[in-house]
């Protein structure tokens, strides 16, 4: 398992390095159209071929990795921070605040995410840059995704609140904020970390779903979701190189899961 974990760390590290500076690794810009040679199979100049309008698939995959891999963790971080604050508050305060936050979480969980995202996407200003568009998409994912981890955090805080060490701290006159920061936070942090690792692949896949519907990251900016649209239908049987983004996505998510399974998140 240690070997697998090391491989996962190595893979994620390599992908992160490529994603952080795609200009170094990509032979072409993601939006350059080689119109004389559209939809070509892999060759020395274009290792994954060119897409329907003649763009270098490998370069687009490298740039798309940056978009998906940097923004998905950012969105996951946002939702986990919100979940930590709201879930912690609900668990700690109880009563009306608890009921209100739980009701809000239930409401968010019952909302049809995809339709909500479509509605929000349709209401957004049109003339925004592709970079702003992708940021907004992931921001929405982050804002909408707080409810599930918040419920987990709330349950953990409620359990911790009745534990002996918290009782002892209170008995010794520990103030609420100190209790929160010094006693509860270290115990809740692993749970939030687990939620973070769970959320990252979910957000990547959600963006992929939006991309498959043509509503994800705006052209010409590539993302894994947008690149996976080439797999629609069964064209990959004749052109297996189209599977490259799917394989990368599977490897990255698999690596996240490997890391996750080795953490001890028990309270």
């Amino acid at each position: 398992m240690k070997v697998a974990r090391a491989v996962a760390i190595g893979l994620l590290g390599a992908v992160a390095i490529v994603a952080l500076a795609p200009e170094w690794w990509a032979a072409n810009r993601y939006d350059t159209q080689f119109r004389a040679i559209p939809d070509t199979p892999p060759a020395a100049r274009f290792p994954l071929g060119t897409d329907a309008v003649g763009r270098d698939r490998l370069s687009r995959l490298i740039y798309g990795t940056r978009v998906s891999l940097l923004l998905a963790p950012a969105a996951a971080l946002l939702s986990c921070v919100a979940a930590g604050i709201l879930g912690g508050l609900a668990g700690l305060a109880g009563g009306f605040i608890d009921r209100t936050i739980v009701a809000a979480a239930d409401l968010f969980l019952s909302l049809p995410w995809l339709f909500l995202l479509l509605i929000v996407r349709a209401c957004l200003p049109l003339n925004v840059s592709p970079a702003a568009s992708v940021a907004i998409t992931f921001l929405m994912l982050g804002v909408l995704g707080w409810a599930a981890p918040a419920r987990v955090v709330r349950a953990a805080v409620r359990k911790l609140k009745s534990s002996e060490f918290v009782f002892m701290a209170r008995a010794r006159g520990c103030r609420p904020w100190r209790l929160l920061w010094c006693q509860l936070r270290p115990n809740v942090a692993p749970i939030l970390l687990a939620q973070f690792w769970v959320a990252v692949p979910i957000y990547i896949l959600t963006e992929t779903t939006l991309g498959m519907l043509g509503l994800g990251v705006a052209e010409p900016l590539p993302s894994w979701g947008g690149l996976l649209r080439e797999l629609e239908g069964d064209s990959f049987l004749a052109r297996p190189y189209l599977l490259a983004p799917a394989i990368l996505l599977a490897l990255v998510i698999g690596s996240f899961q490997l890391l996750l399974s080795n953490e001890d998140f028990s309270i």
Binding site: D31, Q33, A52, A122, L213, E219, G233, S235
Partner: protein
């Protein structure tokens, strides 16, 4: 009238000879119909459903382009081409058992022409001297009086659904081959055979031959083809060029290219003065020089070659080169000429600074192009246009929206900058463009539903279109419509890009399909089609 283009012979499909018991014809719609009201249908999905469920007085045969009797058994047109008298078919009944009479026709038109309805179809019955007036003479004769001579007037009646005048509430019972049985929003529309349908085949057997039609709403074209291959879908009315080539290589007999259509794909800028856009942006879009520059900067040949894989023709205007009768002679597609484009922009006060195009006030030229989500072809066209315009220093964002949101923006809120869409043309006659080119039309793309024309050239187009609609003389009409095409080239309110070919997929299970270049390409005579048994396991 000479046919505008050569129609290819339909393939002979012999595998399925008889219709299986309880046979169902399975088709797809690419979007949820915006409305099922037959007089408000403006999108292709709604028109497809309407085509199968509504009865019309005269139907234009999609194969021969000749008008054929439907609910009107015969008709006669006055010598001055202002009046048409319909003799209605006797014995026709609505699904509720009530008899079809002349009053139903008159009341249908009264509802259609009600200004409160805002029907896009009603625009085709308008001339500069008013609208058509209908009156019943007895139970089986209807007289339609046009205020001015109108050429090919009988073809106009192909698109008007005749419904029961006695019915008080929508949906009014229709007289088509099928009835709407069930609508599952976003999933499917199920049609069942109309038991009261009047038409019989040559052997005297009741039509339609299939018991039901199912329209599955399938935005994803790849999945649509996948389902076709699995036997879940029988006909695909419009394949993308990529999928067509794929199907043609795998199963050549099922992929049919019926040649150039009258349809067009085009781009336009929002030129409505009431649009909620910054004044500087409106000024760009209202400048003919700016629009002309954009047109010159787009490489149409590349769009045909790359996006359509050769299954399209560069557009010179709204009239397809296939429509030789009405295309203005000498009007060639705009050449790809970025240098000429830059000259137009410079003349308009634009300047290129460090790769960024700026207007006279120094505002960088950036705008968004909206198009419907799910259409790879349009997305690829938009991406190529984006790169072409980037060479002029224009920064273009591409936004794909779900179809209802897009329609909402381009027809109601007008909160958009540019739009890339297509137009389906059923008839080659210029009257077909009335509901698009008249400034008062709700489908007038660049500035819909104007109370009065906001520009002098739009006023001239209005005058010319109404004049051609009000004349029976071909030469006069041609002259008017030629001038309309000239104005559209000079002012470029719509940047016509390409005319696609009709690319269809026909399952060997379906017998009798004759693919045409006119919408609907595959199921225009659905009542005559037969469907054989499906593969095992497909329900």
């Amino acid at each position: 009238m000479k046919l505008p283009f050569a129609l290819r012979p339909a393939p002979l499909l012999l595998l399925a000879v008889t219709t299986a018991a309880g046979a169902e014809l399975r088709l797809t719609l690419h979007d949820e119909p915006k409305t099922l009201d037959p007089w408000l249908a403006a999108d292709e999905s709604a028109e497809a459903v309407q085509y199968l469920t509504e009865g019309v007085l005269i139907r234009v045969n999609r194969l021969t382009q000749r008008p054929e009797p439907e609910l009107a058994e015969s008709w006669s047109i006055s010598k001055d081409a202002t009046r048409i008298v319909f003799q209605l078919r006797r014995g026709v009944k609505f699904p509720d058992g009530s008899a079809f009479t002349a009053d139903d026709v008159v009341q249908s038109f009264e509802r259609l022409l009600d200004p409160a309805l805002h029907s896009p179809i009603a625009d085709t019955f308008k001339t500069d001297r008013g609208s058509v007036k209908l009156r019943a003479e007895g139970t089986n004769t209807v007289v339609a009086q046009f205020p001015t001579p109108t050429a090919s007037m009988e073809k106009l009646f192909d698109q008007v659904a005749i419904v029961s005048g006695k019915a008080l509430h929508r949906p009014y019972p229709g007289l088509g081959a099928f009835l709407i049985a069930e609508r599952r929003p976003g999933v499917s529309i199920q049609l069942k055979r109309n038991p009261a349908y009047w038409k019989r085949d040559s052997d005297g057997k009741a039509l339609p031959r299939v018991d039901s039609v199912r329209f599955d709403i399938e935005q994803n074209r790849d999945l649509e083809l996948l389902r076709f291959r699995r036997g879940e879908v029988d006909l695909i009315d419009k394949l993308t060029p990529e999928l067509f080539d794929r199907l043609a290589s795998e199963a050549p007999g099922t992929a049919i290219d019926a040649g150039p259509t009258l349809d067009s794909e085009f781009l336009w800028f929002n030129q409505a003065r009431r649009a909620p856009l910054p004044e500087a942006t409106k000024a760009w879009f209202q400048s003919a020089g700016f629009r002309r520059a954009v047109s010159l900067a787009i490489n149409r040949a590349d769009l045909c070659r790359i996006v359509y894989r050769g299954h399209a023709t560069p557009a010179s205007g709204p009239v397809s080169p296939a429509n030789k009768l009405w295309l203005k002679e000498g009007l060639n597609p705009e050449p790809f000429d970025p240098a000429a484009a830059m000259k137009f922009l410079t003349a308009d006060g634009f300047r290129l600074e460090a790769g960024v195009l700026r207007d006279q006030r120094g505002n960088p030229v950036d705008f968004s192009i909206i198009t419907n989500a799910g259409s790879k072809t349009r997305e690829h066209m938009a991406v190529m246009v984006q790169q072409d315009l980037a060479k002029l220093g224009m920064k273009v964002a591409i936004v794909t929206l779900d179809f209802p949101s897009l329609i909402e923006r381009i027809t109601r809120t007008l909160n958009y900058e540019a739009c890339l869409l297509g137009l389906v043309n059923v008839d080659a006659d210029p009257s077909e463009w009335m509901n698009v080119l008249l400034s008062s039309a709700s489908n007038h793309p660049w500035n819909p539903a104007q109370k009065s024309p906001e520009t002098s050239w739009e006023a001239e187009i209005d005058r010319l279109m109404l004049a051609q609609a009000g004349s029976a003389d071909h030469h006069t009409r041609k002259k008017s419509f030629d001038r309309v095409q000239e104005i559209l080239r000079e002012q470029m309110p719509v940047i016509y890009l390409i005319h696609p070919n009709a690319l269809a997929a026909v399952s060997p299970r379906v017998t009798g399909v004759k693919v045409t270049a006119f919408f609907p390409h595959t199921f225009w005579d659905a009542e005559h089609l037969t469907v054989g048994a499906r593969p095992p396991g497909i329900h």
